[in-house]
Amino acid sequence: MNCRERVLNRLAGKPVDKIPNLNIIMTFAAKYVGVPYKKYITDYRSLVEGNIACCEAFGIDMVSTISDPYRELYGFGGNIIFPEDDVPMCTDFLVKDYSDLKKLSVKDPLKSERMLDRIRAVELFKSRLSKSYPIQGFIEGAFAEAVDLRGMNGLMRDLIEQPAPVHEMLEICTEQVIRFAEEQIKAGADFIGVGDAAASLIGPRHYQAFALPYEKRICDAIHKGGVRVKLHVCGNITSILNFMPLSGADIIDVDWMVDFGKAVNAFAGKCSANGNFDPVSVMLRGTPAEVEQAVTKCVEASNNTTCISAGCEIPKDTSFENMLTLDRTLKN
């Protein structure tokens, strides 16, 4: 059974030889292949090399183009700083007030440098891997993109103080990320990851008003392209567990703060839960025995469609021994 068959079987609730290992690797993969992070996220060949090398070495069952949240923002004209070997940063917000929305226009991903780089990563994965691995493209969720445009502090206040222009901004974001997803689907993606990070911070009422409707439209558009969705919302999603499956996502990542059994139950019959041990205290700082224990605990809380991974990105300095232990535990 190859990785692609393993993942697709699992999502369908069919037998598998190992529960899929769907860990998110970004800085870890760059370090593993000895590439500075700036190069990893600006040269698709490095990203593809790092992903394939890590998936093969550590039994990860899905290659992914996930890298940083600023592909779309760069297209909008965002001012991004790329440290030589660290994660990029955005120092200024494009939407200082809502009159700035007039200046925003949806860009053609094929003509936008950083979006195009990710599309090329999907193409290269496709040509190198044939059908052995599922290939995940990646986009920001509309809400996360709105945070990138407006800033977290501003947007959080706007949800209460001026909700109408927030929706206008979310419309623009939705259109942009759908176009980006469509190009990655054309390039050969089997899954599109949707990162809607800040949606965990706003509670069920605002989630249903400002995040869920747009997630649903994005998932619908991706499904129209014949591709599945993996929704990733960092942080404690306990309060929105019952609403997230309404997005239509096929896999929903569950961060470590959430009771995994609760998530598995909330998603049962609707989508697969993927999670959810602590990437820092278990993977980065834990012993192999602690990794084994944490993975086993998640497996015990699983149903027949559940996948396993840390709740969020594997930290850069995680030991190879812990990564190998993780996959060995799944094989056993």
Binding site: M156, R157, L201, G203, V280, E313, P315
Partner: protein, 212 residues
């Protein structure tokens, strides 16, 4: 309790930004002293907001807007508090460590601490250990250094900062508290912090404990 104090509490909890300053002025006009307005109005209100957050009724947007409402009210009484020589609960130097621009947690902690009567010096984001040391040298009466980090790649800079503060000879008179999504109590202890707060609401309790 005076009705106007109840209105101030209600105004903050329900983020009535338009009328909070009017309510505070009404309280002053009714002869209620500024310290009572702070202690029995605003601090009580932010305590209620924190409780609603811990109970899962309020989330980040509500916390931020309630804190902004409190800040507006505080602007009216702050000059009076200073004039009357009212002591703050303690001075806190606060910032996000080097390499980290994520400031929403730090800002919220700052507002909650101000709402609890602390004097907060917000050094900003992406603050180098040298800058923290410089600010602490300029604020020798600071009782707490509060450090924030969201990323696993920047959290080691908390230890680098604490070490720099030690080398500068400032650590012994200072308590250090840390917070941020990738941290936990164990990590906080290992890097030599005195306190760890899992969220902005609980940061107030930690700060109060640290200043005794």
């Amino acid at each position: 309790m005076e009705k106007v104090l109840e209105q101030i509490i209600d105004g903050i909890v329900k983020f009535d930004q338009d009328s909070i300053q009017e309510r505070v002025k009404e309280a002053l006009a009714a002869g209620i002293n500024p310290q009572k307005i702070l202690n029995e109005g605003m601090i009580v209100a932010m305590g209620k907001v924190g409780k609603l957050f811990e109970e899962g009724e309020y989330f980040l947007p509500e916390m931020l807007v309630a804190a902004m409402t409190m800040q507006k009210g505080l602007e009216v009484i702050q000059p009076l508090l200073m004039k009357s020589g009212v002591k703050s609960a303690g001075k806190i130097v606060l910032g996000t460590v080097k390499g980290d621009l994520h400031d929403v947690g730090k800002n919220l902690v700052g507002m909650m601490l101000k709402g609890a009567g602390f004097d907060v010096i917000d050094v900003g984001v992406d603050v180098t250990p040298e800058k923290f040391v410089e600010v602490l040298q300029d604020n020798k009466d600071a009782k707490i250094l509060a450090l924030s980090a969201l990323l696993t790649t920047t959290m080691p800079n908390m230890k680098t900062t604490i070490d720099a503060v030690k080398r500068a000879g400032l650590r012994s008179k200072l308590k250090v508290m840390v917070g941020g999504a990738p941290l936990n109590e164990t990590y906080a202890k290992e890097i030599g912090a005195d306190g760890y707060a899992p969220d902005a609401s609980r940061a107030v309790g930690v700060a109060k404990t640290l200043v005794g």
